[in-house]
Amino acid sequence: MSAIAHGDGQRHGDHPPAAHASSRVPPVLVGMYLFIASEAMLFGSFFAAYFFARVSVGAETWPPEPFELPVFLALLNTIILVTSSFTIHWALQSIKRDDRAGLIAGLGLTFLLGLAFLLIQAREYTRLGFSPRDLGFGSTFYGLTGLHGLHVFVGLTLLAIAFVRAVRGHYSARNHQGVELPGIYWHFVDVMWIVVYTTVYVI
């Protein structure tokens, strides 16, 4: 924890760099960025699987006959997630101004939007009419969207923790790393969805 304290001191620049604080970016943030790099590689592997199936199945149309994808429902979900990127940003900006009400509202809204996304995806899954067992197409479709859904779920868990801590008054203008971290993760999940959506539903 002392490492975090060093980081904060650095950022606010009220004393010269302490020993063992050889970076301007606090350790937990560096750790989070590195973790996201590895997450990107994980998604990359699933994309590789997706394109491999798409090429090796060799169907003339994609999705192959007779499967169909609910493009507009997924578009709705895209709009929901993109909106949630703005609300989490708002939450973070609020606490930087010491506006706790804004923080709680922002976090709450983001959580609800994320939850709506997951519920809509669950609904979509039950009505698609194909399963992960249906050829490379079914496997990779569920693989990619499922992996993303799992990340939304993890993001929601982090947001829920941040929300409870926000209500209990743990954050302030000086101390809000607990909001910043899930925020970075959430932005990543959103960006990943845009790529998944474009790949799976649009092209």
Binding site: A19, H20, S22, P27, L135
Partner: protein
Amino acid sequence: MAVRVEEQVLPTWKDGAVMRWVTSVDHKKIGLIYIWSAFVFFVGGGSMALAIRLQLAQADQEIATQGSFNALTTMHGTVMVFLFAMPLLAGIGNYLVPLMIGARDMAFPRLNALSLWIYMIGAIVLLGSFGAKGGAAQAGWTAYTPLSGPDYAPELGQDLWILGLHLVGISSLLGSINFLVTIVNMRTQGMSWTRIPLFVWSMVAQSILILLTIPVIAAALLLLLLDRQAGTSFFLPDGGGSAVLYQHLFWFFGHPEVYILVLPAFGIVSEVIPVFARKPIFGYKAVAFSSLGIALISMIVWGHHMFTVGLGDGLNGFFMVATYLVAIPTGIKVLNWTATLWRGNLTFRTPMLFAVGMVALFLIGGLSGVVVANYPVDYQLHDSYYIVAHFHYTIIGGMVLGIFAGLYHWFPKMTGRMYDERLGKWHFWLFTLGFSLTFVPQHMLGLMGMPRRVYTYDREGLFEVYNLVSTIGAWLMALAVLIFIVNVVRSWRSGPRAGSDPWLADTLEWYASSPPAEHNFDSVPYVASHRPLRDLRRRLGGERDG
């Protein structure tokens, strides 16, 4: 409420000797637990190798059946790579990195302990594969589909193998993040990026590789598990999946894995050679940045494991040329080590013997690799004993010798005592002799056409001779390791006391006492070059080396 300050603190459940280690978040204790347990797995994986060599000592032996032989080769490879090699390097890194950069501990001590214990659980799950109905996994350490798929490996052993690897992979991934953050954030005052020890540079390159490639093998194993248990068809051709995809994902991780193992050994050698040549390393920046160069290039060469799959001349040619490129940064390192030795004041203590031996043997492994990187040649040698010989030269000749160099070099630091020089030299000469006897003949076996992973072979002149020599060599290596164990146990208990800097080395870990105090340093000198202790000695008017 009144608080009585003088109240005696009662011992808690954490105060027993065992629990002090188990609950520790100190990087040195965690490092030692990693080293000890990885060494136990080294002995375990080595025993499997001895069993393999016994079965192959003569034709038509019946020590192992076809099935149990496959399980032995599979588990030998997996245990050596994932339970011995990676954790042992994690242990050495854990012990040394914070000391070398003048830090109190790793950036995230509790995450560090979590990585350690996830590794332990993963190891138990992986070895639990032996207890499963139908025996341990048999699909090879590469677990190619469809061999590892539901049709050909329906037993539970393969699933435990997958789950165990998942856990060990997560452990390495968390560890790599911890190392990178530690090195980015925790360097002491004055220690800029061109002043960190070369071992720390090698850990930077290794951690980047782990960070970017472990997720890929994790994905491959996850999809394989789904194919086996959930009826998907990612890798199963019958359902429109692709077995070649599995190979791509596996080797995208598999080739960099070689450098995940070998880069820290390069780092160790880059620390040991200057100390025993009494010269600064030749070309610090070249050695440091060639680590990064190797790491980056190693991520675009994986196709050389798949030349016989039928990628076509275009891709095969690309992977061939890319593989040749790795020889450039590797050659730079070899050149720099040689130049450091050149006209140095050499003393051949045990760490130095292992370091120089590593350079020589890894060079042979590298050159035999350049031979098979040529894909028409590989058509002939693919999956033969030549490949087995080649990669054991890089992994044992490269990594294991490097690790031994490091263990001897830092033994006085970790234990406060000096090892026995005579036993150390016996260890080196017996080990390298046994190693050469084991693996030189395997090159020939491969050229004669003996495929890898077969449990017996034809009764025919040279096949029998080479195999017998190889088996004798393997047992010599085992004897050498036994000598090492005796040396460590004896010296740890009653070796002569070593001071804080017995080698007159230049890096910060030698500024701490031996073994270092729980908090590492009372103070750290300001770092003004990559040889802070040499600077300190000069300021105090001492010796004039280098």
